[in-house]
Structure formats: structure tokens, C-alpha cells
């Protein structure tokens, strides 16, 4: 089985986010970028499938810092790693990259395309459905367990309150991964160093062929502070203050 995994680099949320001058995007110049967490799980699921039944895993990364993440993917067990060139200093639009991913899936004779169910820049979770549609392959999102039996895939999807459904579908398919069957593994520094010699392939983007359907008109950063009060560390004064706050809000009698 040939598996293609998509790894998207997103702004590190621990950094200081600032708006760009146009007020419609984030100023990406001073940001650190990290791998989208759901994509990390997609990679892990791909490696688990490889370990369970054998597969060739190709990881394709998009965005700033892609090389570092591809070395990590190689250290974890990806057989081939490719960096997809993308427009600098722009957010990664699923609509934009879907055609490139679909083209690569064909070029690599993929039987399975895995990506994270969503990213902080695609809260719609559009990548898997777009790629599925372009390839005309079945697609399931929100997967938290994938079992492959030849070309037959069993995909479990969590629906909240512990309810889980399992689909059976035939490869080739596109799956949006919510969580891997096991937490993403740690890859040691020595393995990373070894993997740093892995050659990283390059791929140029395909034109998306799609018109822009909607535009971002504003982007707003969270408003900070003003909502909390530190009650201190002394149990008695904390209790006094708590009682008076509750009383003031009419939630307790003083």
C-alpha cells in the first residue's frame, strides 16, 4: 500500500500573534511555525499502518519549517519526504493546495491519502473532502482508528459521548485523521540526526483551478485581561473575599 500524508506548518500559538498591515491576516514574519497537531496524528497513523501490514509512506509538507518536520517524519519511519513549494508568508489554504496534493497522490500511485482533520487555518476541515472530490475517491473525516485489510479499510470515527461508528470502504480513499490509534511517538535526537541526511524532494504547486469563493475581510486578535482577580494565598482572606464576591453577585447571603 502507498500512503501519502500531508503535513501543514501553522503559526506557533505560543508566539505573539500580530495582525498584518491589511488587518486581514497574521504578520508571519516573526513567527515560529509548528506542525499542525492533527497532521502529526495522521503521520503517526500512517506509520502504524506501515508497521501493521507494510506500506510505503510518503510525507509531503507545506509551509515554513517543512524541512525540519520532514526530517522528523523520516526519523519516525516515512520512506520518502517531499516539500511542496508554496506562496511565502501566506496562510495555507486547503482550497489552494488540494490540487497539488491530488496530483501528487496520482504521481505516487497512492492508495491512501491521510491528513489531519483540520488545522488552525482550516477549521472547516476542507482538505480531505477537496482532495477526495478532485480524485473522485471516497472520503471519511474525523477518523481515530484505521485498519487496513488488503484494499479494504475500516475507519472508526468518534461522534461524541463515546459513540463510535466504523465505516468500511475500499481503497483508494482520502481520510481526515482526528487522532491516531496511539499517541504520536517520540523520536530521539540521535535518530533525528541520522534522518537529517535523508534527501528531501521538491514539488512545485499545481494551479488550484478554483475561483476564490469568499474573502477574509477582518481578522481580530483576542482581547486581553480584565476578567480575573487574584485572591492571594492566605486561606482566610481568600475565603472572605470569595464570600463577599458571591454576596455581591447575589449568589450567597452574607
Amino acid at each position: 500500500m502507498n500512503i501519502l500524508v500531508v503535513l501543514r506548518m501553522i503559526p506557533d500559538s505560543a508566539g505573539e500573534l500580530q495582525l498584518a498591515e491589511d488587518g486581514r491576516s497574521i504578520d508571519r514574519e516573526w513567527l515560529d511555525f509548528q506542525l499542525n497537531d492533527f497532521d502529526d496524528h495522521a503521520l503517526e497513523e500512517a506509520i502504524l499502518l506501515k508497521e501493521a501490514g507494510g506500506a510505503k509512506v510518503t510525507a509531503v509538507a507545506v509551509g515554513e519549517g517543512a524541512n525540519r518536520v520532514l526530517q522528523m517524519a523520516a526519523a519516525r519511519g516515512a520512506d520518502e519526504v517531499v516539500a511542496l513549494q508554496c506562496e511565502e508568508d501566506a496562510m495555507i489554504s486547503s482550497r489552494e493546495i488540494a490540487a497539488s496534493i491530488a496530483a501528487m497522490a496520482r504521481a505516487k500511485s497512492a492508495d491512501l491519502v491521510l491528513c489531519g482533520v483540520q488545522s488552525s487555518e482550516d477549521v472547516f476541515g476542507q482538505l480531505a473532502p477537496y482532495v477526495g472530490a478532485l480524485l473522485d475517491w471516497p472520503h471519511v473525516s474525523g477518523a481515530n482508528r484505521i485498519v487496513a485489510n488488503g484494499a479494504v479499510l475500516r475507519v472508526t470515527q468518534e461522534r461524541g459521548a463515546g459513540v463510535a461508528v466504523t465505516y468500511e470502504l475500499a481503497a483508494p480513499a482520502v481520510l481526515g485523521v482526528q487522532t491516531a490509534s496511539k499517541a504520536p511517538r517520540y523520536v530521539s535526537g540521535s535518530k533525528l540526526r541520522e534522518a537529517s541526511k535523508t534527501p528531501i524532494g521538491r514539488a512545485t504547486p499545481e494551479p488550484s483551478g478554483l475561483e476564490r469563493a469568499a474573502d477574509i475581510i477582518t481578522l481580530r486578535l483576542p482581547v486581553q485581561g480584565g476578567s480575573g482577580e487574584n485572591l492571594g494565598g492566605n486561606a482566610e482572606t481568600v475565603a472572605d473575599r470569595l464570600v463577599s464576591i458571591l454576596a455581591a453577585k447575589g449568589m450567597a447571603r452574607n
Partner: protein
Amino acid sequence: MASTLPLWILVITALALTAWRSRRYAAALANAPAAARFNRPMLRLQGVMVAIGMHRKMLRKPLSGVLHAIIFISFFVLFTATIDAFGSRLFPGFSLAPVGGETWIAALQDVFSVLMLTGVGLALYQRYVLRPARFDGSSGSDAAIIYVLIVLIVASLLLEAAARIAGGTDGSWRPVASVLAGLLDRAGMSAHAGEELFYWVHVGAILAFLVYIPGSKHRHMFLAAPNIYFRNLEPRGLVPAVPEAREVPGIDSLGQFDWKQQLDLLSCTECGRCQAVCPAYAAGLPLSPKLLITDMRDALAAGPSAAPLVGGVISEETLWACTTCRACMEVCPVEIEHLPKIIDMRRHLVDEGLVSPGLQEALSNLTRLGNSMGKPSKMRSRWTKELGFPVKDAREQPVDVLWFVGDYASYDPRVQEITRRVAELLTAAGVDFGILFDAERNSGNDVRRAGEEGLFETLAQSNIDEINACRFNRIMTTDPHSLNALKNDYRHFGAAFEVLHYTALLAELITAGKLDLHVADGARVTYHDPCYLGRYNGGFDAPRALIRAAGYTLHDMPRCRENSFCCGAGGGRIWQGDDGVTERPSENRIREALSLGDVAYFVVACPKDKVMYTAAIDALGVAETLKVVDIAELLVPRTSRAIEMPTVET
């Protein structure tokens, strides 16, 4: 003599049995990877003299030390009797009489027989009446068998001499045996039969002892001296590198340990001093440094088995419990090296990706961003923004002192205040200093000790490259962990920096008259020696000098200096959960400080300690009684207003 042949047969049989019982150990040592422990013979010999001749570490526990010294000296004196017993019958005609065997040597044997029995008596008293907790887990039957054999050997020696005296030999050089001769006489025992009986009991017990030793902790009779001789002479703060001959970073079978690491296992006396000082053991975690060693020793003795070393003989939880505080190695009388073994086995776990979620997050953050908190590098120097003056960028301009700030001192809001205080003190003393800003990375001290050798190399190389690109005279850090890595571990890359702890630099500035301080009124404080400043790097005196210079009276805790008790944060523990902990080491330590009864401040000199002990004091609800202050907070330049420390009732 008629007994010569039977004795030869007995001796050869016993020697053969002893060799047979030692075969596995001998094979293990012979096949073990090499270790470079043959340099500097005079220094090595000197260490053996101090450790054994002076009983230096042994005497730190006075009763054990004295009783062991008695047994040890008596053994050498009574060895003359052993030579006599075997020599006289194996080689008819042999006798010690010409050199005093029947006069002064006889007198010494007589007196030291009683001393030996006294020593064993004290040992029995200690083991069965006092019952120190450090013996928990040690083999009780092994100890009992040894006591019985020693008593049998010494008693038979005395009684054999007594029987000879009863038979008419002159007893004037053997006062104790003479008294016993009277008793034998009264018991109506035939002198000749008695002499033969006690002789054979004596040689039989000695040979039984010899055969017994290979499977007993009493191996230390033969192995303690070599184990001390071949001890590690490298700096205490330098973790042994992964040998080039090893293909993977870690160790997952006993045979991969070099011969010195295996000799350690065979030399253990089960005295439990390591267990008594271990913070992980005290915290209720599944780590006893003694059992770590004896479990591996027993696996070595059992020979190849199906159980894996890591996760089998030694559990993962045991390996992760260690704070690498080095207290175990500090107290071990036979210089066993616990930490290199733990770190080598952790290297295996890390290479296999078997790490706890907390550690995985910290290590992933360190890989990605160079700090364990997951904060952007650009925020590393944010603490400088609230200073009233700019801090020099050491990458841009030459400085006298390059300040390596460290993760906690840079990022943790509880510590940033102290970091700024140090910057103010340096400025007040006119020190020309600068920092690396966002180019600094975690020093890798605890990364290395968590077994992440590859990541350590990446972090260290990055720091070394940045430091080498700066112009400076000395490096200073407030963080003992960074101090240790920069000073010791970075030698691995050929880097030789002069690195100072801020307490040493400040003490130097005060001595030079460059820093004039407000002097307090002698209030009593206690001080916690950080492991990586004190035990690892000998920084005991500068912090104490600073406390005195600031006008405070130091009341040390019982466990201070080399015997300091770890806060529980080291070796990567700070990144792991508290699962299984019954009493946090930091809380144990705060209780110790409270028991002093007269100190208001718990003085620290390590950013992690500020974090750990502030949390411990909050958890114990004693914030009104004891306050954690960094040494930098005690030091107030005269040029600034004296800082009102909150008064604390004692």
C-alpha cells in the same frame, strides 16, 4: 603428618568450588567492553588508601564505621592464624614461631579474637536491635551466615589454642585462651581430641567461608579495593559519553556495560547508605539505588535469561524516578557508579521513544524551540524589558562577563524577578556583562541526564557555536544545571570555558570591594545547597559567604553541603508527573528547615529551587512561617533603598 593429605584435598576442593562459583562473574568481566580506568596509578592508589586505610566514608556513620574498622583490622591480625593453621599442616615444618608466632603474634591473635567478636557483636546489635532502614531489602540471611561463619572461625581459633594450653603448652602469651583452657579442663575434654576437633572446625569454617564468598556480599573483601582503585577520575559533572564502539546510544543488556560498570555490581556490600540518602526512595518512588545495583547483580549471577534488562530486571518507572542528584554516589564506600548506569538505560528508553507524555512534551519543545516550556526564542530576553537599563547583546559587542541565563531564569515569571535582581547587582558593581538573547538554548544538562544524548548534542553544539562567536572573558550563570553542562559536559566537544556561578562572582566582587551592601541585623536563615552547585561542582562556600556578608546568620540544616537533599527537580524529573510520590522531596526538605525552629528564610541559589520550594511551601500551607528567597534577594546594594523583607514570625 597424617592430616596433610586430607587437608590438601580439602583445600583444593574448596578452591575449585570457589572458582566454579565465580565462573559467571569472571566470564562476564572478561567479555565486557573496555573501560579506560588505568591512568594515574598514584592518584588511584591514594584514593584506595584514604577510602580503606582511613575508612573515610565508612566513618560518616560512626557505629558502622567503627565496628567495620574493628572487624577489618582484626581480620588482618587473625590472618596470621590462618597462615599458621594451613601452613603448618600443608607444609610440614612450616611455623611462624621463628618470627614470634608463639609470643607477640600469639598475644595479638588472642586480643584481636576478642576484638573481632566485639565487632561482630556490635554488628549484630546494629542489624537486629537498631535495625536501620537502610538495610531494608538487603539480604538478611547472607548477613546472618557471615556472622555465624566469623564467630565459628574465631571461637574455634581460641578454643584450639585453649586446648593446646590445656595439653601443657605455655599460655602466658595467650591470656584469653588460658582462661578458656581452664573451662575446657573443667568440662573434662581431652586436650588432644579438643585440639584436633577445633582445628578442623577452624579450617573447615575458613574454607566454607571461601566457598561461600562468591555468592555473597562478602565478595567486597576482594573487590572493594579494586573497585575503588578503578573509580572514575573524570569531573563529577561529566556524564560518560556514548562509547564509539556502541552502535546504539543506550544499553538494554547487562553485557553491554563495560567491565567497571559490571565490577560495581559485584562490589556492592548492601550497606544501603545510598538508599538512605536517595530522594526518590524517600518519596516512595520505586527506586532504591541499592536494589538497582543488587537486582542487576542477581541478574548477572543468574546468567543469560529471557527477561530484558530495561523494563524487566529494572523497570522503566525505576529509571525515570532518579533525579541524578548524585547523593548515592557521594556516600558509596566502594565507589559504585549508579548514575552512568541509569543514564545509559534511559538512553535506550529514549531511543525507543519510551518516554512519559510530560517528558515527551518537554523534549519535543526543546527540539523545536530550544526551551522546555514551548515558548518562542524571542521571548527569552523579555525579562530585560522591565529593567531600567539596557542589557548588552554579547553577540554584537565584547563583554567581560557573558551571562548564560538558562530557561527557568529567563521564562518563569516566579524567577524573572530574581534574574532582574542579579542584573541590578552586576550593574551596581560595575560589571560589564551581556547575554545571548534569542540565540541561547537550554544548556542540555538535564536533557543529557534524561538520556537524550542526540538532543543534548544538538543543544550543546548550538550554544558552543554562539558562545564561540562572542568576545568575553568569563561565563556566569545563575543556574547550577547550566553551570554544570557548560563547565563539564561541554568538554565532550572540546569546549573549555571558564564558568562561574553568580554566587562565586558576587562573592568575588564583595571581596574586591566593588559591591557595598546593606547589612541586616543577623536574622537567622537556612540555606539549601543545590545538587549541581554543591555536590557536583564544590560550590559550598561562596553562597555562605554571601549570606554572612548580607548580615544574616546561617543555621544549616542537618543535611547540608555534600549531604544536601535534592529538591526533586533534577535529571528531567521537573518535566515528569508526581505519580506514585508519597512525599515530595521538596516538602521533605521544607519540613527539615521548619524543624530548625528558628529560621524565617529558606535561602536558595538555583532558579529551579525557587520554583520547587515556593510550591512546596504553598502545598504545606506554611507561607506564613517560612519564605523562599534567592541569595540575590538578600543582597541589597547600599546605593539602593534597603528592601523591606516581609517579617516572618519564627
